[in-house]
Each structure stands twice: as C-alpha cells, then as structure tokens.
Amino acid sequence: MITKRIIPCLDVKNGRVVKGVNFQGLSDVSSPIELGKYYSENGADELVFYDITASAEGRALFTDILKEVASTIFIPLTVGGGINSLDDFDRVLKCGADKVSVNSGAIRNPDLIYQAAKRYGDQCVVLSADVKRVGGEFRVFAKGGREDTGMEALSWIKRGVDNGAGEIVLNSIDTDGVKKGFDLEMLDAVCKIVSVPVIASGGAGKAEDFITLFNTLPKVDAGLAASIFHFGEVNIMELKKQLAREGIPMRI
C-alpha cells in the first residue's frame, strides 16, 4: 500500500538554511547538507529545498550545495525558488533534483509548465500555489505570497495540471504560520478538481494536525511543513509512528 508522505521544507539563502535548526548532533545548524542528511536519516519521505537567494552568486552556491546534498541523500529531492525557465529546470536537475517546483515563474510564463512537462515528464513538474481567500474566492498570490495576481486559484491549478504539472503543493496563506491546522476546506476544493497528488502546506502546528489532515481528506498525499520540524516541535519519526498507530499508511 502506498504511504502518505511527510516532507520537511528548507529555505536556503546564499547557501545557508534560513532559521538554522538546533538538532542534537548537528555541528552546523544552518548547513543544508547536514540538515538534509539529518532529515533523510530521521524519517523524511522527501526533501524540499527552496532557494530564496536574490543574487546570481548565491544561486551558483545553491547549485553546488544541491550537488552535495544529492550525493549524500538517496530520497526524492524537490527544488523550488527562482525557477523561471527551462534553463533553470536544467540547472537544478543536473545537480540531482528529482522534481522542480514552479510558482511565480509559471504565473509570469504560463507556458513554462507545459514546456517543462514535455521535456522532463509530468512527474518532474510540481506546481506550487500560494492561495488566499479574497472576496469569497480562492485567489493565487505571487512573489512569496506578497502579490495578489487576481487569478482564481482553482481554475489556475486545474490549468496547471492540464498543462502537465504532476503534483500540486497547496500552500494556504490563510493558515500559514497560524499553527492551528491545515486549510482543510481549501485542500478539499483542490482535491476535488485534480487527479494528481496534492501536498498540503501551511498551518501545521502539532502532530494531531497531520492526523486530522489525512483522516479528513484521504485524497491528500502528503503533508509539508518547515518550522515545526526545524524547531523540534514535531519530530518526524515520532509523528510517523503516531500516524501509523492511527491506521494511516506510513513508511516507518
């Protein structure tokens, strides 16, 4: 039976993990390589690296680091941040990324998903959508959630899947950082219109939030979080054992 996935997300800026994490046994808390290794050895089913670098030098550093991460970690690796062209896809895939996540780049260039899916396959293209409720509808936001694009989110996501996105990361801006649980209503709306895997993001504050997520919405494939894992509020292996006890299929 296929398992539900638990995915930690690491923000990397100029080669360092933002908000470095203080795990036992880690000598360098902001090293993407050390942290990636820690997570992969401690139950993470997949890793997401998000490049929030602004400069070209920072980006070159990021690709070097990716290579090193990919040579020590043998679980799926998704890379996002600053992906605007097929060249960007090529750059991170050659460093060992398995999937590439697009967000603002796909909003600027709607053809990007189609082109990338055609060249690298649907399984390689992840559409990451930052979504917020505005005036009674779900609205897509760009630039890390700062800019309202005016686009209705469900049709945007549907179009992305039709164009070849093989997975959706749905990040609810409304629940992000609130730590009161995932945005079940928004996730349900998305699960109803797409047939590709949906990864829930935004709002997890405790282990119970993941139990509620998978029990309420069996069509959700994975739960993604950052700070609660980074700050040790939720230990991934413990979380997975707890989910397994609840009857949710997990890789233990």
Binding site: M1, I2, T3, F74, P76, S195, P197
Partner: protein, 205 residues
C-alpha cells in the same frame, strides 16, 4: 567496474552517487567498448519508451546490451530501463523492446481502480512472495521503495520477483537469470535502495 549506460535519457547523477555511496566502482558511459569491458551493466531511464528505445537502436547500444546480457553479464534496468528489457510496450502505440524479459508494458490505468491516482508516485511496500530473490537478500518483506510510473510490466509472471499493491498487484521487480529490473528507483529509496544495489554488485558474472 559497473557501467551506467548514458544514452541521453534521464538524470544519472543520483544513481552514480548511490553506487559510490556503497563503495562500488562506477562509470557513466555510452561507449560500446566501455560497456563490453564492464563487469555489470545498469540501464537507467526516465521518460517515454519510444524515445528511449529509438535512442538505444540509433546508437547500436541495444545490440551491445543484448549480447552482453546473453553472455551472462549481470544487467539491471531501472524504471524505464526495466521496461525496455521487455518484449514490447503499449505506451503511446506499440513499440518493440529488447526482449530480455518475457512480457509487455501496459498502462496501470488498465488494471487499477479509477479512484487511484496516476502516476503511481510515492513510497510503496515491496512484497517478495514465498521465495525472496537474492537481489533482496538484505531486505525485509514490506520494506518501502520509491515509485514514479504510469506503466507497468504485465504478462511476466515467471519473472516477477517483487510486487507492490496499488489497488492491484503491480510488478515491482523482475529477474530472468542474470537480467534484473526494478520499476521503482533504488537510488531514491534510501537505505532500502542502497541494499538492493549492494546485492546487485555482489552478483557474479
């Protein structure tokens, strides 16, 4: 020396690194002489069957792979690389494969229930049946491997050495003598995957 065949299909970085991680000597090459000289051959692959098999034929690598396999050299196909070993595939048409494994590649949509998502992406448990193949000697029943695929090996019962349950029992791995194939990605399956690669490295010519 293990050769990972480079024929312009897929990303070979992780695969190369995973062999290095278990201490194997590995080289990535598309040269016939290198492939003939290697002790073991790995045939990777991501993407479409037709494109991949055409590339193998255009370069003449198909013949080299078949000849070396027939000499008894251990050969491991991974994901699309496994599918290429079959007689034929029904992915967007009908295409002939290398015929090293008896059977056909068919869409999983043909056999799995409608509510199951396609592709089959994620970690799934491996089931070995009554007799565990030596390729899995370091594994336990139910260990998880990472899958990403929409097509699967059908009509290959005599070669199946592992299955995964996805609304239906799907072929997860095959073997016929010295020819092995994994539908999942050992290079993305953590410790479990590395254990499979280690067992493959220990197979004798």
């Amino acid at each position: 020396m293990i050769v990972i065949i480079d024929y312009g299909v897929g990303n070979l970085y992780s695969l190369t690194q995973s062999f290095k991680a278990i201490g194997a000597e590995v080289i990535v090459s598309g040269e016939k002489a290198v492939i003939r000289n290697a002790d073991k051959i790995v045939l990777p692959g991501v993407g479409a069957f037709e494109d991949a098999v055409n590339k193998l034929r255009a370069t003449g690598l198909d013949k080299v792979i078949i000849e070396e396999a027939q000499k008894g050299k251990p050969l491991l196909g991974i994901c699309l690389g496994m599918q290429l070993l079959f007689d034929k595939s029904y992915e967007y048409g009908e295409h002939k494969g290398l015929s090293l494994i008896k059977g056909e590649i068919e869409p999983i949509s043909k056999v799995i229930p409608k509510e199951y998502k396609i592709p089959h992406i994620g970690w799934n448990a491996l089931h070995f049946g009554e007799k565990k193949h030596p390729l899995f000697k370091y594994l336990n029943e139910g260990d998880h491997a990472y899958f990403v695929h929409s097509f699967y090996g059908a009509n290959c019962a005599e070669s199946v050495i592992a299955t995964a349950e996805y609304g239906e029992e799907l072929t997860a791995a095959v073997a016929s003598g010295n020819v092995y194939g994994c539908q999942f990605h050992p290079e993305k399956s953590g410790e479990v995957g590395l254990k499979i690669l280690r067992a493959f490295c220990e197979r004798e010519v």
